[in-house]
Amino acid sequence: MRYFTPDLFARYNSADEAVADEADAEWEAALAAYRAHLDAVRGELPPPVRELAELCLHDAELLGDRPADPSVAVVMLSQQGSFVVLVYSLWEQVREQPAPPDWPFSKQRTHWLYDELDIARGAEGRFLHRVLLSDGRALEIPFRSVILRRIPAPQSGVPVRQSA
């Protein structure tokens, strides 16, 4: 993460009021810097990547992020009565930064906190999607293209078939 770092998130949550106040100001600066960054690169983003940059997945529950193939990453999320599926065509493997050792928040029911869209410099058509998860992990997804799909969740769930 370049803007919404795990460290800044943790300081924003500090019980020390002075630390939290300072983090509030830093977060506002990070928001402004990230918006300026997006404005600067928006013209270079193809429509699906632009859509990804504008998509709000905050609080969506992570259902799975296992790579299906070394060149593909699939992220599945549940958000407000629908499933969101992101399929990335990769130019490098997904990098995962582990949670800081003193990460104080729950690691149950991992959900999406903040994400950042970037362009990989020096290579046309290569993008980076960085995601901070609620369990403290940060993912960096190096991708060329992405497909976004939102699927309504069944109202009453799916019956589980009993095995014989």
């Binding site: 939290a20 609080d59 928040f105």
Partner: protein
């Protein structure tokens, strides 16, 4: 003749924060509803609904919002405004982990409820 010392103005004291019912509006806006007590705010949060703490003092707002969320559920996390939730989004406490649903929002010097 010695000059009379100028009276020192008393330090500015901002009024205590207020708690309101809240709903979500467009572009991340938090729309404040009726004024409620802290006890009512805790009950509303336990029902999975939103509340917002309004006032001029960031530290006091955050502290009160935290007290409400803690009383409502115990463990909590504070989420700063997120870039894609809308221009007017507010920081908020929520259970950690979820459920129940809902948020305890609070105002900052830069971000206000409507």
């Amino acid at each position: 003749m010695a000059k009379k010392p100028k009276p020192v103005p008393p330090p500015e004291v901002s009024p205590p924060p207020e708690i309101h019912e809240a709903t979500l509006g467009d572009d991340g806006a938090v729309v404040r509803g009726g004024l409620i007590t802290q006890v009512e705010a805790v009950a509303r949060r336990q029902a999975g609904l939103d509340v917002v703490v309004c006032g001029a003092n960031l530290t006091a707002n955050r502290r009160l919002a935290r007290d409400i969320e803690q009383a409502a559920g115990g463990s909590y996390v504070l989420h700063p405004p997120h870039p894609t939730a809308g221009t007017y989004s507010l920081p908020h406490y929520q259970p950690d982990p979820r459920p129940p649903n809902g948020h305890t929002f609070y105002e900052t010097p830069n971000r206000k409820a409507f």
